[in-house]
């Protein structure tokens, strides 16, 4: 089951992952990642809020295509991708990816794959609010390197190394 959502309001990850898991009887494993707005007590980043914007004609469609790719590549039984847009406060969830598969490796890799693509290859724009005002955020070099791990050439390299 493919379930891809773009949400404008806060969501509770557990409330979505529970039913998603229930919907796949016979699965061998579920892997879930939740990304939240970093900061607050003990992690004083100076960030007061985060805003994610999107472009309606492209964003959801490209998320659907990403989900299709992941389902095929990692032989998934189901995939749930939820991404927020709008303004978020510290501690609020931004993104949720949950993958169900017969075996753990497919589920874990699928979540990693989807997150790397959502970070730096999906139609979102992110800015953060600090004391001095709003500032646009671009992916770091590390984010692009993470994404490159999944390209065909590198994938072949992984296979040649006999990773399992």
């Amino acid at each position: 089951m493919k379930d891809v959502r773009l949400l404008t309001e806060m969501f509770i990850p557990g409330a979505l992952v529970g039913p998603f898991t229930q919907a796949h009887p016979g699965l061998g494993g579920v892997c879930t990642f939740v990304g939240e707005v970093r900061g607050g007590e003990g992690q004083d980043t100076g960030v007061e809020a985060l805003e994610l914007s999107h472009y309606e004609p492209l964003t959801l469609r490209s998320m659907e295509e990403l989900a299709d790719k992941a389902i095929e590549r990692f032989d998934l039984m189901g995939l749930l991708i939820v991404h927020r847009v709008g303004e978020m406060r510290v501690g609020e969830p931004i993104v949720l990816v949950s993958a169900a598969a017969l075996h753990r490796r497919g589920a874990i890799d699928a979540v990693d794959f989807c997150m790397d693509h959502l970070k730096s290859a999906a139609w979102f724009w992110k800015r953060e609010k600090r004391e001095e005002g709003w500032r646009w955020i671009e992916p770091h070099a590390g984010d692009y390197a993470d994404l490159a791990r999944w390209s065909k050439k590198n994938r072949q390299f992984d296979l040649d190394q006999g990773s399992s």
Partner: protein, 80 residues
């Protein structure tokens, strides 16, 4: 009807507006001449994409927007 240019992400701040309507048709040269120097300089960079009528163009300079089309200016993305 006209062509609607939509500014995404930081380009919105540069343009000082979310969108702008211009007369159709609109090609690459017309777009650069319309959006102001700062945005035009960004558009010339490889990492900025353009979508026309919901499709991302493989070659920006081949832009041919007609009456009713929406042209979106897409700077580098960051999500998650």
């Amino acid at each position: 009807m006209a062509v609607k240019i939509v500014f995404l992400g930081p380009l919105r701040d540069m343009a000082g507006a979310e969108s702008q309507e211009v007369e159709a048709p609109l090609d690459w040269a017309g777009l650069l001449a319309t959006v102001g120097d700062e945005v035009a300089a960004q558009l010339s960079e490889e990492r900025v994409n353009i979508a026309c009528a919901g499709r991302v163009l493989a070659d920006k300079s081949a832009l041919q927007a007609k009456d009713g089309d929406e042209v979106a200016l897409l700077p580098p993305v960051s999500g998650g």
